[in-house]
Amino acid sequence: MTKKRTNEEWSHDLNTSGEVQEAAIADLRDLLLRAVLFFFSRNLGDFERLGRDEILQLADDCAQDALIAVMNHLSEFRGDSKFTTWAYKFAINIALMTARRERWRGKSLEQLSFYNNSTRFEWIRQNGSSGLIPDRSVVQDEIRDIIQQVIEHELTDKQRQVLMMMIFNDVPIDVVVQQLGTNRNAVYKLLHDARRKLKSSLQARGFEVSELLALFSEPG
């Protein structure tokens, strides 16, 4: 049974030594393992290639990694949340990253990172040809052209590659991080810069979001 502690008690017990610290670390590890298992139990589809014992072992590994992360960041705990909420976030972060990578393990990403303008905007073309609103397809074509121009000519190779994987093919950021040998902040920044270029080009041509969403909403 995990002992209930206040934030101050968690900080004190984990920062001390001897039996008090050992008991606090054991309690914390129990909480982190339960957090990981809570998440794994809701996402078993991500682990379909693994047996039960392998999943439990993976959960144990995640809890251990989360414990190390919590102890390494202990001095950064400011007390502006419950200590357990603060600690759980490390377990959740590691558990989700593990699940995403497990789901995509063995899948080839090579084809998913290249831009192919003949297929990427199929939906826009189909919708544009419905003819329910006479000028609609013309404007949709214009927007599609702007987006294609930006993707083809204004994005860097890395921005285009990340955009293709994450936005067009739904590859999770942690898998992209692994593929590119970089970190999550760098991948987020690549995508952020790509969005800024697209926004700027669309606004420069006079398009605003409400107008675009109305234009692309499905008829009926």
Partner: protein, 90 residues
């Protein structure tokens, strides 16, 4: 690209800010954000940059939702025991 995803992507393009917080900054702040939400406070007013990041970053949004659900479970009477959770793993 499917229609719903394209529409969400357009929204994300238009909700893009010149300065956005990183995933590391999001992870740093998300526990405070969740506890504010659990206690019924206005998270958008108190932490707008984090809210904006969650709108843009699928991975951080998933982590936020899982953390929030875990805390709600605690508030409603506690997390299941280790034994019960292990039994859920088939």
């Amino acid at each position: 690209m499917e229609h719903d995803r394209f529409e969400n992507w357009l929204r994300n393009i238009y909700n893009t800010q010149d300065e956005e917080i990183s995933c590391t900054e999001c992870l740093d702040l998300v526990s405070s954000f969740v506890d504010l939400e659990i206690s019924g406070q206005d998270t958008i007013a108190k932490m707008p940059k984090l809210k904006q990041h969650l709108g843009q970053c699928h991975a951080c949004r998933d982590e936020y939702k899982s953390l929030r659900d875990l805390r709600r479970l605690e508030e409603q009477g506690g997390m299941p025991s280790l034994d019960d959770l292990q039994k859920l793993i088939r």
